[in-house]
């Protein structure tokens, strides 16, 4: 289906048009309970087990706001440099669609809890772009629909739908940027970098699991093109189902090339919701956008207004943790890193891991060396991101500790790490199970050295003649004989002593 879509060459797009971005991110809070009822807020689980009269929209049920969710919303707003509303209300967004059993979604409309903020976003080359935040408002997530009978699991062609309301009513914060113009060629990268920065921020705030793969962080990308000749604003499309950071970038780029082709052939971009397809990297039309008026928003009569006192807001401001960019600045100074090194560590997703490893007792350079070399290679071989390697910073710190204590050589340490990665347990357990032990008993080493010297008499003679570099062959033989469990430096000392 995508082969029929005309696309313009990206360079040509940039030559003729200015892209304008707008990003809407929905984040599920990881509170214990839902937004308006005491049902557990859990991912997965048997369908419809976490439901009650309120989140099923049964007659007579009444919602009560989860105070913790409001607290999280305010903290998110503060971290995004927003103003916090002195008074705001919830609103009903009315629509007929079975993902909300009430026939409306409880949301906020023109009175968001947080508004007018910004987030500084660092691009891959270190350039910083300030993204203006329009608003962050509170709402509830919808249930999950399973469309049965259609070929693709999408609505189209389905015979009926099956609904699971475990997710219905889960606290959701929608964060909306203002229009982001002027990013030109870098628009796709800016979109990805913004969602990355927001994800890191939300993670630091500890308000959400921020798992794009599980849907606890979702991004809708609005894209429009403005012709350079006229500068007129273009019609925008909203692409949904963008489930990874990489997809954010791909979806924006695809829409730019598609819209440019439509416009240059004299067509018009249709204002619509589009669906991103992960496998083809393309978007396809979804439903036509309703206008805000069609949702017939009105103040939610069952919930009283929220009026956060300035004392409460300031108290919550005091709970903000060190934010990702503050942390980076501090670490750069403390560890004396160049901009370039810092950027590489950030881009490799290594910085937080290294910091955590240092917090677990390792020295910064030791921790850095493990994560950016051996572990980075392992991640690369397995095709996973560094943070997804099945080893924790604390475990890496323990391996480093064992090396420093002389209990492991570097080679044995790598073997211990391999064992942890293979799921054999903690470093200590792997050392135990695999029998990884430095042979530090000199008499055993002396015996091995003597055997090696006897096996290679010509080499032994060279060493005796003063050709010290020949010792390497004997050291190698001893390391082999001891299965790498000897301390190479010590073996070398013994070899030289024996041949003197």
């Amino acid at each position: 289906m995508t082969s029929l879509v005309e696309l313009m060459d990206y360079d040509e797009v940039i030559e003729k048009y200015d892209p304008v971005l707008g990003l809407e991110v929905h984040v599920e809070l990881h509170t214990n309970t839902k937004m308006f009822c005491g049902c557990a807020n859990e991912f997965g689980g048997e369908p419809n087990t976490n439901t009650c009269p309120t989140c099923l929209g049964l007659p007579g049920s009444l919602p009560v706001v989860n105070g913790k969710a409001v607290e999280s919303a305010i903290r998110i707003g503060l971290a995004l440099n927003c103003e916090i509303a002195e008074w705001c209300r919830f609103a009903r967004k009315n629509y007929f669609y079975p993902d909300m059993p009430k026939n409306f979604q409880t949301s906020q409309y023109d009175e968001p809890i947080a508004f007018n903020g910004w987030l500084d976003v660092t691009l891959d080359d270190g350039e910083v772009i300030r993204v203006e935040i329009e608003r962050a408002h509170m709402e509830e997530d919808t249930g999950k629909s399973l469309h049965v009978g259609g070929a693709t699991g999408r609505i189209h062609g389905a015979e009926h739908s099956l609904l699971d309301y475990n997710r219905a009513g889960v606290p959701l914060i929608e964060i909306v940027t203002k229009m982001i113009p002027g990013t030109g060629r870098r628009a796709p990268e800016v979109a990805r970098a913004y969602v990355t920065a927001l994800r890191d921020l939300l993670k630091a705030l500890d308000v959400s699991d921020v798992r794009m793969d599980q849907g606890s962080l979702r991004c809708d990308a609005n894209v429009s093109l403005s012709p350079k000749t006229t500068g007129a604003l273009g019609t925008r499309t909203e692409t949904k189902n963008v489930n990874s950071l990489r997809s954010v970038e791909r979806a924006v780029r695809f829409e730019m090339t598609r819209q440019a082709a439509v416009l240059s052939s004299g067509g018009e971009v249709t204002q619509e919701t589009r669906h991103f397809d992960e496998s083809s990297g393309s978007t396809s039309p979804g439903r036509k956008k309703e206008t805000a008026e069609d949702y017939r928003y009105f103040p939610e009569p069952d919930l009283v207004p929220i009026a956060p006192s300035r004392e409460w807001v300031e108290q919550l401001r005091g709970t903000l943790p060190e934010l990702p960019w503050e942390r980076r600045a501090r670490i750069q100074k403390e560890w004396n890193l160049t901009d370039e090194v810092l950027r590489d560590l950030v881009n490799a997703n290594a910085l937080d891991l290294i910091i955590a490893t240092v917090e677990a007792g390792a020295k910064p350079d030791e921790a850095r060396s493990w994560w950016v070399s051996y572990l980075a290679q392992q991640a690369n071989t397995r095709g996973v991101d560094l943070p997804d390697l099945p080893i924790t910073p604390a475990q890496v710190a323990r391996v480093i500790e064992l090396v420093n204590a002389g209990a492991l050589t570097n080679k044995l340490a790598r073997e211990a790490v391999n064992g942890v990665l293979a799921g054999e347990g903690s470093p200590d357990e792997v050392v135990e199970k695999r029998g990884l032990k430095v042979v530090s008993d000199d008499s055993a080493l002396e015996k091995a050295v003597d055997e090696a010297l006897a096996a290679q008499p010509d080499v032994a003679q060279k060493i005796r003649d003063g050709k010290v570099q020949a010792a390497g062959a004997i050291v190698g033989a001893v390391m082999k004989a001891t299965k790498g469990q000897a301390d190479a430096a010590r073996v070398r000392e013994i070899v030289l002593a024996r041949c003197s």
Binding site: L56, N66, A69, W87, R89, P98, L163, V304, P305, P308
Partner: protein, 114 residues
């Protein structure tokens, strides 16, 4: 400020019916109500009376009287974030006309959403 519920009648207090037949038809569609041609005329007239009455109230209210959305002057009613027992799957589905695989089974979603 307040909520931008844009009903034409609240703006013009002329006494002439100001909710059109087309607007009634559009609202009926949004509410998934099947309304006949005759009913459109009937409801447009009836709704207009209601809107005129509301407009009369709006006429009395001056700028210093904020619109009321809640009858009780309360704010910040919050619940502790503590899990309470849910219904469970069986009970949750007990009122559903149809269920399948522990889920509510609903008719195919209308073509307009496709």
């Amino acid at each position: 400020m307040g909520f931008p519920i844009r009903i034409p009648t609240l703006r013009g207090l002329t006494g002439v019916p100001s909710i059109s037949r087309d607007e009634v038809a559009h609202l009926a569609k949004l509410a998934r109500l099947a309304v006949t041609e005759d009913e459109l005329d009937l409801f447009a007239g009836q709704l207009d009376v209601i809107l005129q009455s509301v407009a009369t109230v709006g006429d009395i209210a001056t700028a210093d009287i904020p619109p009321t959305s809640h009858a009780v002057p309360l704010t910040n009613v919050f619940r502790e974030d503590v899990v309470r027992p849910s219904l469970g799957q069986q009970q949750a589905l007990s009122g559903a006309p149809e269920a399948e695989d522990g889920r509510f089974r609903v008719p195919r979603i209308l073509g307009e959403e496709a």
